[in-house]
């Protein structure tokens, strides 16, 4: 099945800093999503981005499907951005949405 790898596993930032999270996947995909898991465990949808670029406020994401990677950009980070960021992908002919192991982000003031 598809392999989804995220990097870095952990990231520590000062408030106001920018960061880039990476997601590599091993096969062609028809679904690529980024989630933020808050301290209460809820998975918040950030982007549905099987290809192209999207922006939402301080967050943006780019997926280069032909090169099998996606990037999540966080600008001017805030303490509320802390938590775990997951990338998940599904292959074109596959079924389940497979998750990477996540990037744990800690933003301090």
């Amino acid at each position: 099945g598809i392999q989804v790898e995220q990097s870095p596993p952990d990231l520590i930032l000062q408030e106001g800093a920018n960061s880039t999270l990476r997601c590599n996947f091993s096969d062609s995909v028809n679904n690529l999503q980024w989630f933020h898991q808050n301290p209460w465990g809820q998975l918040i949808n950030l982007f549905y981005i099987p290809s192209g670029t999207k922006q939402n406020g301080r967050l943006s994401a780019t997926t280069v499907a032909t090169e099998r990677y996606s990037l999540l950009y966080i600008s001017s980070s805030q303490t509320t951005d802390s938590g775990v960021y997951f990338c998940a992908a599904r292959v074109r002919a596959g079924t389940a949405l497979i998750f990477g192991k996540g990037t744990t982000l800690s933003v301090s003031s």
Partner: protein
């Protein structure tokens, strides 16, 4: 409903008992997924439904785990003879059909935290 609903939100059970976890997907979503997340870990895929059938149940960890979906809507995940290693958060998600032209974005419920004592 407005979002994916799971019940109960918390369940404490004794080792050896059976438990049933319920997932009510977003109205109109034909695809439904179950995942398990152990403390501090990522999401482990368990089973996927398209309508009432389960084309992919490869993630079920043992024959103590089973799931069904009726009427293309509500799904129940059953764990028989629970063990302490079954303790985890069980998450359910739903989406439009896998190849829907409007896309296949998945939305998650709040999860059921299962503790086996």
């Amino acid at each position: 409903g407005a979002g994916v609903s799971q019940s109960p939100s918390n369940k404490v059970t004794e080792k050896g008992k059976d438990v049933e976890l319920r997932c009510d997907p977003i109205s109109g979503h034909t695809a439904l997924y179950w995942y398990r997340q152990s403390l501090g870990q990522g999401l482990e895929f368990l089973i996927y439904f398209q309508g009432n059938s389960a084309p992919d149940k490869s993630g079920l960890p043992s024959d103590r785990f089973s799931a069904e979906r009726t009427g293309g809507s509500v799904s129940t995940l059953t764990i028989q003879r629970t063990q302490q290693e079954d303790s985890a958060v069980y998450l359910c998600a739903s989406s439009l059909a896998i190849n829907h032209l409007k896309g296949t974005e998945a939305f998650f419920g709040q999860g059921t935290r299962l503790t086996v004592v």
